[in-house]
C-alpha cells in the first residue's frame, strides 16, 4: 500500500506503453540509419575482428577480419530496428521487451561500426567483437550475482538494498584472504560468510525488530563503504601485501573453448563465471520446480496464507536473506577477482544496478540474467568507448549506465509487478 498504488489506478492501459516502446524503437532505428549510416561518406569502411586480444588464448581457428561498408551496413541495422519497432507498434507482441533488447544490441553494434570506420577519428580502426563480449561478460557476471541475491531475498518478501554493501565486503575480504592464502576458494568462502552475515543483520533487524528494510539496507551500505575505507587506510595501505589484487585464472573447458567468438566468451572464463551459471540454473530450478521454491514464493506473495498452511514465514525469510547475502558476497569476491586490487568505492553503484536488473527481469532469475547481460555490455562500452574517440566527452559516457538504469526502472519495459508482500514487515496476528 503506497502512494504509487494510488497513482497506478489512474494509469493508462498497458497498450499505450507498448506503443511508446515501439515508437522509441523506430526513433532509434531512424537515428542509426541517418546518423550512423547516410551521413557517413560512401567510401568509409569498418572492420570487425573476431580473435581474442588475450594472446595466451591462441585462437585455434583464426577468423579473418570482416570488412564492410560502414554506410550500408549501418543502414541495414537501422532498417532492422525500424522494422522491429513497427512490428511492436502494429502487433503489440507479448514479448515487446525482448525486441527492445534486440534493438539496443543493434544500436550498440551500429555505434561500434560507425566509431571504428576508416579515416574516422579513432586511433583503433577495428572493433574486436570478441574482446567486447569478454569484457562485458565479467561485468555481467557480477551483476548476475547481485540480481540473483535480490531474487532470493525479494521472492521471500524482503527488499535487499544492501547488495552494494555485500559486494564491498566480499571484495574487501576476498582481496585480503586471497592475498594472504593465495587461494581463491578461501576468498570465496570468506566473501560468502561475510555476505551472509550482512544478510543476517538485515534479516534480524527487518524480521525481529520490523525496521524499515530500505533504510536498514542503505545504512548497511554506508556502514560497509565507510568501514572498508577505514580499514583500507588502517590495514591495507600500511600492509600492501594484504591487497595484491591477483586476478583469478581462467579455466578453459576442453574442446568447447575452441569455438570461435563463443568459446572465449563462455568457455574460457574464471571459476566465478561457471559458478554464476550454476547458480542461475540452481536458483531458477529451485524457485519454480521445487517444493522449497513454492513455499518461498508463497511467503513473498501472501505470508498470512503461507502461515495458515504451516509454513514458517519468518524462518523462510531468514534463510533466504542469508543465502542471498552469501551470493552477493561471492559476487563481491568475483568483482575483485576480475577487476583487481580493492579500492574504496570501486564497486561504484553496481549493487544498485543489479537491483535495477532484477526489476527489469521481473523478479525472475532468467529475466535478471538477460538484464544483467545488457547492463554489462552498456557499462563496458561506456568505460571503453573513449578508445574509439567518440565525439562525446568521457563524463557524458560515464553517465550512460546510470541513465539506462533510470530509464529501465522508469518502466520503459512496461508495468512490473513485484512480489506482493515485498518490503512489508510480517506480524503474526
Amino acid at each position: 500500500m503506497s502512494v504509487s498504488t494510488l497513482v497506478s489506478t489512474a494509469r493508462p492501459a498497458r497498450d499505450r506503453r507498448t506503443t511508446t516502446i515501439g515508437l522509441i524503437m523506430v526513433a532509434i532505428g531512424l537515428f542509426i540509419t541517418i546518423a550512423f549510416g547516410l551521413m557517413v561518406p560512401g567510401w568509409a569502411h569498418s572492420q570487425l575482428t573476431f580473435d581474442p586480444i588475450n594472446s595466451a588464448v591462441h585462437a585455434p581457428w583464426h577468423l579473418g577480419a570482416l570488412t564492410v561498408v560502414t554506410r550500408w551496413s549501418d543502414v541495414v541495422l537501422g532498417l532492422l530496428a525500424i522494422a522491429l519497432g513497427v512490428e511492436v507498434v502494429l502487433r503489440h507482441p507479448r514479448r515487446a521487451l525482448s525486441r527492445f533488447g534486440v534493438t539496443s544490441v543493434l544500436f550498440l553494434l551500429a555505434l561500434l561500426l560507425w566509431s571504428s570506420r576508416t579515416s574516422g577519428p579513432a586511433s583503433v580502426n577495428f572493433v574486436d567483437l570478441t574482446a567486447v563480449l569478454v569484457g562485458s561478460s565479467s561485468l555481467a557476471m557480477v551483476l548476475i550475482y547481485g540480481s540473483l541475491s535480490g531474487v532470493m531475498c525479494e521472492r521471500a518478501g524482503v527488499v535487499n538494498i544492501a547488495i552494494e554493501g555485500q559486494f564491498i565486503v566480499g571484495a574487501f575480504l576476498g582481496s585480503m584472504i586471497e592475498s594472504t592464502t593465495g587461494n581463491f576458494w578461501f576468498a570465496t568462502l570468506a566473501g560468502a560468510l561475510a555476505g551472509a552475515l550482512l544478510g543476517w543483520v538485515l534479516a534480524f533487524l527487518a524480521l525481529r525488530y520490523m525496521s524499515d528494510q530500505i533504510i536498514v539496507g542503505v545504512v548497511i551500505v554506508t556502514l560497509m563503504s565507510s568501514l572498508s575505507s577505514y580499514l583500507n587506510l588502517q590495514v591495507l595501505t600500511p600492509y600492501p601485501q594484504y591487497n595484491l589484487g591477483n586476478l583469478a585464472p581462467n579455466v578453459a573447458i576442453p574442446l568447447l573453448y575452441k569455438i570461435p567468438v563463443l568459446g572465449p566468451v563462455l568457455f574460457n572464463q574464471t571459476g566465478f563465471f561457471y559458478l554464476a551459471v550454476a547458480l542461475i540454473a540452481l536458483v531458477s530450478f529451485g524457485l519454480f520446480r521445487t517444493r522449497w521454491g513454492l513455499r518461498v514464493r508463497a511467503v513473498g506473495e501472501h505470508p498470512k496464507a503461507a502461515e495458515s498452511v504451516g509454513i514458517n514465514v519468518v524462518a523462510t525469510r531468514y534463510r533466504n536473506v542469508v543465502l542471498g547475502g552469501a551470493i552477493a558476497g561471492i559476487g563481491g569476491v568475483a568483482f575483485m577477482a576480475t577487476q583487481g586490487q580493492f579500492q574504496p568505492g570501486y564497486t561504484s553503484g553496481f549493487g544498485y544496478i543489479a537491483l535495477a536488473a532484477l526489476i527489469f527481469g521481473r523478479w525472475t532469475p532468467s529475466g535478471a540474467v538477460v538484464a544483467s547481460v545488457l547492463f554489462g555490455i552498456s557499462s563496458y562500452l561506456a568505460n571503453n568507448l573513449q578508445s574509439y574517440s567518440i565525439p562525446v566527452s568521457t563524463e557524458v559516457l560515464n553517465m550512460f549506465p546510470y541513465l539506462i538504469t533510470i530509464a529501465v526502472v522508469a518502466g520503459l519495459i512496461g508495468r512490473v509487478r513485484p512480489p506482493a508482500a515485498d518490503g512489508i514487515p510480517y506480524q503474526r496476528s
Binding site: 533504510i215 536498514v216 577505514y230 533510470i406
Partner: protein
C-alpha cells in the same frame, strides 16, 4: 500515550522519565552505543592496542597496562574529536585568562557550525520527504547541482549584492529542483521507485559536475583543471565576524535558521504541508479526502530537491566560493549524512537541527582526530551509521536498556516497497 492518565504523567518523577522510551532518550542511547562501537573499531585496528592485549597472560600487571593502553588510545581519539569540533579546555583557559587568541579557541566551534549549516538545510529536505513517505537518497546530487547553479549565477552575472545574493541562492534552489523533479515526475507518472532513480542521479550528477567544471562557460578561464570560476564578492555569504576574525562561520546560518522556521511552519501550519503529512501517514485516507497523490509526489520532490540545492549553494557561497571536481564527492558528501540526520531527528525541524550540529561535530572532529592520531576520518561515518541503525530500530534499544514501554507504536515505515 493513551494508556496514561493525566495524573500519572504529572506525578512521574524525572528519573522514571529518564528510563522511559522517549525519542530523546532513544536518540541519546543510540549515540552512546555508536561511540562504544566506534571505540571497539579503534581497538581492533590499532596495532599498539592489539599488541598490548596479546601479552596479558605473561605477567600479573600486563592486563592493567593493556587496559591503560586501550583507554589511552581510545581516549586520545575521542579527545581529539572533541577538541577539534567543540572547544579545547586549555585554549579556552588561555583565552579567558589573557583575553587573547579567541579566534584560535573558537575555530573548532566555528568549523562545526560551518559544516552544520548546509547539512541542516539538506537534512530538512530529506526529512520533509520522509514525512511524506518518500525516500530521497539523491540529496547529494541535488546539492551538487545547486552548487553548480549557484556558481554559474554567482560568477557570470554582475549585479549589486542586494540582488546578487538572493539570485545566487535562488539558482541553487532551482538546480536542486531540476534534479529532484525528474525522479518526482518518473515516480508520479511511471511508478519508478525513487530510491533507485535518485541514487542513479547521484552518479549522473557527479559525472555532470566534472563535465561542467571542465567546459567553457563555467571553467575558470586560463585553467585546465576541474575548477569553476570564483563567484563575485557580492554573491558570497560573508563571515559572521568579519574576514579578519579568521572564523569561517558565515551568514549562512541565518539561511539555515530561516529554513528551520519555514519547515516548521510548512509542516505544522500550511495546508500543503498537512497534505504531505497525511499522504505519508495514510495514503488511502489522503486519496479518499481528495488529495491528488500525483501532485503531492511531484511537489515533495520539488521542496526536498530545492532545499538540497540550497544546501549545496550555501556550502559553496560560504566556504570555497567555487566548485571543483571534488565538490561534495566522497567523504565531503552531505547526502547520506543528511539521511542519517533526518532519521536521528525524527524528521522534525528542531530535532534535525540538533542532529545536524551533532553529526557536523562528528565530521569536523573526525578530521581533527585523523590529523592528531592518524585514525581515519571514516570512523565518524561508521559511528553515524551505527547510530542510525539503532535509531531505525527503537525496539532494540528498548530491549537492550530495558526501557519502559510508553506506548506500543504501530509499525510505521518511512519508505515503501517497489510499488505498483
Amino acid at each position: 500515550m493513551s494508556s496514561l492518565t493525566p495524573e500519572t504523567s504529572v506525578r512521574r518523577a524525572w528519573w522514571r522519565r529518564l528510563f522511559a522510551q522517549s525519542p530523546t532518550v532513544l536518540a541519546g542511547l543510540a549515540i552512546l552505543l555508536g561511540f562504544v562501537v566506534g571505540a571497539f573499531v579503534i581497538i581492533f585496528t590499532s596495532p599498539v592496542v592489539l599488541r598490548s592485549w596479546r601479552h596479558i597472560f605473561s605477567s600479573g600487571g600486563a592486563i592493567f597496562s593493556a587496559l591503560k593502553i586501550t583507554a589511552d588510545n581510545v581516549g586520545a581519539a575521542y579527545r581529539a574529536m572533541f577538541t577539534g569540533s567543540v572547544i579545547s579546555p586549555n585554549l579556552l583557559w588561555h583565552s579567558l585568562s589573557t583575553g587573547h587568541g579567541w579566534s584560535t579557541t573558537l575555530t573548532p566551534l566555528s568549523e562545526t557550525l560551518t559544516y552544520a549549516t548546509p547539512l541542516l538545510i539538506a537534512s530538512i529536505g530529506v526529512g520533509i520527504a520522509f514525512q511524506t513517505g518518500i525516500f530521497n537518497i539523491g540529496a547529494n546530487g541535488q546539492a551538487i547541482m545547486g552548487g553548480i547553479g549557484g556558481a554559474a549565477v554567482g560568477s557570470m552575472i554582475h549585479v549589486p549584492m542586494g540582488l546578487h545574493l538572493p539570485l545566487t541562492l535562488l539558482a541553487g534552489v532551482l538546480g536542486g529542483v531540476v534534479v529532484g523533479l525528474v525522479p518526482g515526475l518518473l515516480k508520479a507518472y511511471t511508478g519508478a521507485h525513487e530510491v533507485i532513480v535518485t541514487l542513479m542521479f547521484n552518479y549522473v550528477v557527479a559525472a555532470f559536475l566534472i563535465f561542467a567544471v571542465l567546459s567553457t562557460p563555467l571553467q575558470q578561464p586560463g585553467q585546465s583543471n576541474d575548477i569553476s570560476r570564483t563567484i563575485d564578492g557580492s554573491a558570497q555569504l560573508p563571515p559572521l565576524f568579519g574576514v579578519a576574525s579568521g572564523l569561517r562561520v558565515s551568514y549562512g546560518i541565518f539561511v539555515a535558521a530561516a529554513v528551520v522556521i519555514f519547515a516548521w511552519w510548512f509542516l505544522e501550519r500550511s495546508s500543503l504541508g498537512f497534505e504531505f503529512r497525511v499522504t505519508g501517514q495514510n495514503p488511502q485516507a489522503a486519496r479518499a479526502s481528495g488529495i491528488n497523490a500525483r501532485f503531492i509526489i511531484i511537489a515533495v520532490f520539488c521542496v526536498s530537491g530545492g532545499l538540497a540545492g540550497l544546501a549545496g549553494t550555501v556550502q559553496m557561497q560560504s566556504t570555497t566560493h567555487y566548485v571543483d571536481g571534488g565538490f561534495l564527492i566522497g567523504n565531503a558528501g552531505i547526502g547520506f549524512t543528511a539521511i542519517t540526520v533526518a532519521l536521528l531527528g525524527r524528521n522534525k525541524p528542531v530535532g534535525i537541527m540538533w542532529g545536524s550540529i551533532l553529526f557536523a561535530a562528528l565530521g569536523v572532529g573526525g578530521r581533527a582526530m585523523q590529523a592528531a592520531t592518524g585514525i581515519p576520518l571514516d570512523l565518524a561515518t561508521i559511528i553515524q551509521s551505527f547510530v542510525v541503525l539503532l535509531v531505525a530500530t527503537p525496539v532494540m534499544i528498548t530491549e537492550i536498556f530495558r526501557l519502559r514501554h510508553v506506548s506500543t507504536q504501530r509499525i510505521q515505515l518511512a519508505t515503501q516497497g517497489w510499488g505498483s
